[in-house]
Symmetry: C2
Subunit: 345 residues, 2 copies
């Protein structure tokens, strides 16, 4: 039997534990997994592009656990009442190859993306950071805000989105939770006075959500929306002024903000910073950019955390693995459907 | 909601329709999909190797449907009472990226592998073929025999396996179904008088299950067990005497029998033969080899056939896709788990 966490069970788990508690737990697990990065068998994700979007498979493994995530990105989906990004994933046992946990990951991805953003901001942003600008207040926005409060204590957010209803929703969701929300009239106003800028827009285009003049010395930029070929958010000049930190260069150079730049543009791998092998922020004036595209280890960490935290009765058991009594006699499972008459077609 | 076919539902479907009927249906679908091969976005599967085995993801898509299969191969599993190969897969809608069908594929893979073998043998073996040798009578064996009967009318099988119990099981399963089974004392005796030889063994090693002297002019060799790097079954000399047909050269050169040969060893792609663009068998003396490793389109075909054939109530509905009322308000699904108190960790 494989444990299965469907959407109602995922909602139940998050609501029982608390959003910020879950985000902190996932962030801790991501941090410890990033610190042992060389133990993982890593590869760039496998993308299948179509006119409407992309479907990706993101596999990774260490010596004990294998995980993969299926995730789509279809910017036109909301117009049809569908989610831009949906996902599910599986955790499997490396020794036997058997899956052990299968889970919805639309919600879990939002949680792990926010956990990663906040973990990296805690590492790279100025320690006195108090205000975050949030450009793009779609499905990710509330998770980002809660993660930054959970890990950095930031509860002052300046928001901007081209869709006023998306800002309405964010305000309606976050004000009751104790956040101070300033609704800006454009991206520049949102960034004014911010210590951290998170860009999180969905258009599949070379967009310039953040222009060079909006970025002040000392800022940390958490660029999470530019995450596939042909989809960027930052004016290239920002990257030239900043130090750029990435999850997995092989993937980020194809999918991240740095796809705009030459292949030898210098970047720092975050796992090396978390291990203390490379410097993070070195001055209060330095501009740091997390060119986030999402990496399979973050999903692995989230699935492992979920797997270890799920209590009795919090997952369903599904019969996914055909197990005949004699492992060499798979046919026994369907023998009742075999006919002794020759039925040549 | 996503339709889900677990193991009991797969067994029910196969038993209701009949094993040979399902195999014929899948073979027809594979044939028509192979004939429109250039419409598919193809790639080699993504393998993760470990000391105990391999886990693979096999994605493929056309303009309408995307599919992938998760499949493991762990030769040591039966000793622990587990299956060597287990699998599950997903069919998704390309336009939205949403999954539509999730299915066990341990049984379905056995069916589609047998369907492919028989389809290709119908194309390449001598039309007067009457006897098949089956070397390796593990989990695949009965499915192979039934597929060859369903598509070619062959009901005379000569078997050999190093494990006598595996031969016992095969005999016990197949004799009541009207097969004539000759139990050989070695591989050479099994091949004696056979028109078609199927090799289907599981050891992850450079094995020589079939030696050159066992292969007579006019034979068709259906080599399905050599399917990952370091795992072959045929003596290389056989390949030099034969014409070799493959599913997807990029993958077969890494995983198939021809991994033993130089990279420019000539092979023929089967989809071109099925389209009539390349010759198949051209004489009664020619030796033909199907160097089978399994390809993602076969899984796509099997999943599409299953999806189209499943009736009302034959699949479960699972809630896999988080769908908030407002597609930009994913947070609404877990808002009950957000706390207004700052809980800085």
């Amino acid at each position: 039997m494989v444990r299965f966490v469907d959407v109602p069970r995922m909602r139940h788990w998050v609501e029982e534990r608390g959003v910020e508690t879950v985000i902190r737990g996932i962030a801790e697990r991501i941090e410890s997994d990033f610190r042992r990065w060389p133990e993982f068998d890593t590869q760039a994700r496998v993308a299948s592009h179509s006119p409407g979007g992309v479907v990706e498979l993101m596999p990774v493994s260490d010596s004990r656990r294998y995980s993969f995530k299926f995730v789509n990105g279809h910017p036109g989906n909301p117009a049809a009442g569908l989610q831009t990004v949906t996902a599910f994933g599986v955790l499997a046992d490396v020794a036997s190859g058997y899956p052990v946990l299968w889970s919805e990951m639309t919600i879990l991805t939002a949680l792990r993306t926010a956990a990663t953003s906040a973990l990296i901001a805690r590492t790279l942003a100025r320690p006195d950071s108090q205000v975050m600008a949030l450009i793009g207040t779609g499905s990710q926005a509330e998770f980002q805000a809660l993660a930054f409060r959970a890990l950095l204590g930031i509860d002052s957010v300046r928001i901007w989105d081209t869709d006023p209803r998306a800002m309405d929703t964010f305000e309606r969701n976050m004000r009751p939770l104790g956040f101070s929300v300033h609704r800006a009239s454009d991206g520049a106003e949102a960034c004014d006075g911010a210590d951290i800028v998170t860009t999180c827009t969905a258009d599949k285009a070379y967009a310039t959500v953040l222009t060079d003049d909006m970025v002040r010395p000392g800022m940390h930029v958490n660029a999470i929306g530019g995450d596939c070929p042909g989809k960027t958010e930052l004016e290239a000049a920002i990257l030239h002024r900043a130090d750029v930190f990435v999850e997995y260069p092989e993937q980020t150079r194809i999918e991240g903000e740095i796809q705009q730049l030459p292949e030898d543009f210098p970047v720092t791998e975050l796992w090396r910073v978390l291990r203390g092998e490379e410097p993070g922020r070195t001055s209060a004036e330095q501009i740091t950019v997390f060119d986030s595209v999402g990496f399979a280890i973050e999903d692995y960490s989230a699935l492992c955390y979920l797997d270890s935290d799920l209590g009795e009765g919090e997952a369903a058991d599904v019969d996914l693995i055909a197990e005949p009594a004699d492992p060499k006699d798979l046919f026994a499972l369907v023998a009742a459907g075999a006919n002794s008459t020759v039925r040549l077609g």
